[in-house]
């Protein structure tokens, strides 16, 4: 109901952005274009590789009788430059119920998890960032699979991990990825990188802090993820065992 007001408030900023994007010199466009052509070539080559690797991965997963990963539906959303309460870490995006956004949906950027949808309006919705005090993500260390919880502390570049025993194998520089255990975030997206590990034996637990890999303070475009569709068939007709139940349970 208040989204017209929000769109109105961000209008001047949008106009400045529009002007900055549309008023560029011809020379700059040409150099950009050349750069994009080179990039496209490189990405295209990687995409070829990816298709092969993906097929191979699907085949291996089918052999292991583990559920296949389908293509999740994604949608790009833009951050509306709207100010928020200084006590919370939230942003407003320009997608709402009209686009099928739902509460609790995972939001990522090109580097990692950004947060989840907190409140859905008709044409805009509010994202709770992972650094908010009230937010926590179940993660695992990608190196060895140790499970942790990454909770926000209200500082834009810090996440903490409470109740981690001293014996846990975790080192500075470890990458933490979503474990998919909470059911909110899909598995395997990077969340943070461990920055400090303090093992003070006089304390009950070791103190671990990490830094989000998503550029949370420089967001402009984010991706909304929808859960994978259930009706994904195993590729190449290798195995279709009756234990498809395992796949449906996982969601």
């Amino acid at each position: 109901m208040v989204s017209p007001l929000q769109y109105l408030a961000t209008a001047p900023k949008q106009m400045m952005n529009w002007a900055a994007e549309n008023l560029v010199t011809r020379r700059q466009l040409i150099t950009d274009n050349e750069q994009y052509k080179i990039n496209e070539l490189a990405f295209h080559e990687q995409a070829l590789q990816l298709a092969i690797v993906k097929r191979e991965n699907d085949r291996l997963r089918a052999l292991l009788a583990s559920p296949l990963r389908g293509e999740a539906k994604k949608m790009v959303a833009e951050i509306l430059a709207v100010d928020s309460d200084p006590y919370t870490h939230q942003v407003v995006i320009n997608r709402g119920a009209n686009d099928g956004v739902y509460e609790g949906q995972a939001v990522i950027d090109d580097e990692g998890i950004v947060g989840q949808i907190l409140h859905v309006g008709t044409t805009s919705s509010r994202v709770l960032l992972i650094t908010d005090v009230t937010h926590a993500v179940p993660v695992r260390v990608s190196r060895n699979g140790v499970r942790l919880i990454a909770s926000g502390v209200g500082v834009i570049d810090i996440l903490t991990h409470n109740y981690v025993p001293h014996s846990t194998d975790i080192r500075v520089g470890d990458v933490l990825v979503t474990s998919g255990l909470g059911g909110k975030f899909p598995e395997g997206y990077p969340v943070a990188q461990v920055t400090t590990v303090l093992q003070d034996e006089s304390r009950a637990f070791s103190q671990i802090q990490s830094q989000p890999v998503a550029k949370i303070d420089r967001l402009r475009y984010v991706l909304l993820l929808w859960p994978e569709q259930l009706n994904v068939q195993p590729a190449n007709n290798i195995i279709t065992r009756p234990d498809k139940k395992a796949g449906s349970k996982r969601l």
Binding site: L5, Y87, T134
Partner: protein, 157 residues
């Protein structure tokens, strides 16, 4: 009818100004636009704008800022209640004295918001939460003159 529309319009502008994106360095100094407009109308026309309108504006601000519903509404209603109880006295003060009183009320407003947030989420107090008080004091005389001009021009009673 038109007078009601114009009062509503001033509130809309105030709401918009309070969510307008600002550079980070200036953002902490954003004055309480909604509170200033509310206080002016409450001083000038206490029969039209009072604690209930303050609560409604606070709720809209809560939705716009994404804070817990009722935090700004409660703080706004309490600050406006104090003015609504003493409007006859405060009306006769000079603009600068009024500005000081508005500053005190703005500080009260921010402290109530902080206390409620502290109660809800263990927020930590930063002096920067009270910077808006300074800008609100500076804003008051100008807002007062402008809104009085609007009120006299459109003969809002």
């Amino acid at each position: 009818m038109t007078s009601r529309l114009i009062i509503l319009l001033t509130f809309l502008v105030a709401l918009m100004a309070s969510i307008m994106p600002l550079p980070l360095s200036v953002d902490a100094f954003r004055p309480d636009w909604v509170l200033v407009v509310l206080l002016y109308w409450c001083l000038a026309l206490p029969a039209r704008v009072n604690v209930i309108s303050a609560g409604v504006m606070g709720f809209i601000l809560d939705v716009l800022l994404g804070s817990t519903l009722g935090v700004h509404a409660g703080a706004m209603a309490i600050s406006v209640y104090i003015i609504a109880g003493n409007f006859q006295k405060i009306r006769n003060f000079s603009v600068w004295q009024q500005a000081l009183i508005v500053g005190v009320l703005s500080a009260l407003y921010h402290l109530i918001v902080f206390w409620l947030q502290r109660f809800l989420t263990d927020a930590v107090f930063l002096p920067s939460y009270l910077y808006p008080v300074l800008t609100t004091i500076i804003l008051w005389p100008w807002a007062f003159l402008l809104l009085r001009k609007i009120r006299r021009n459109f003969r809002i009673t």
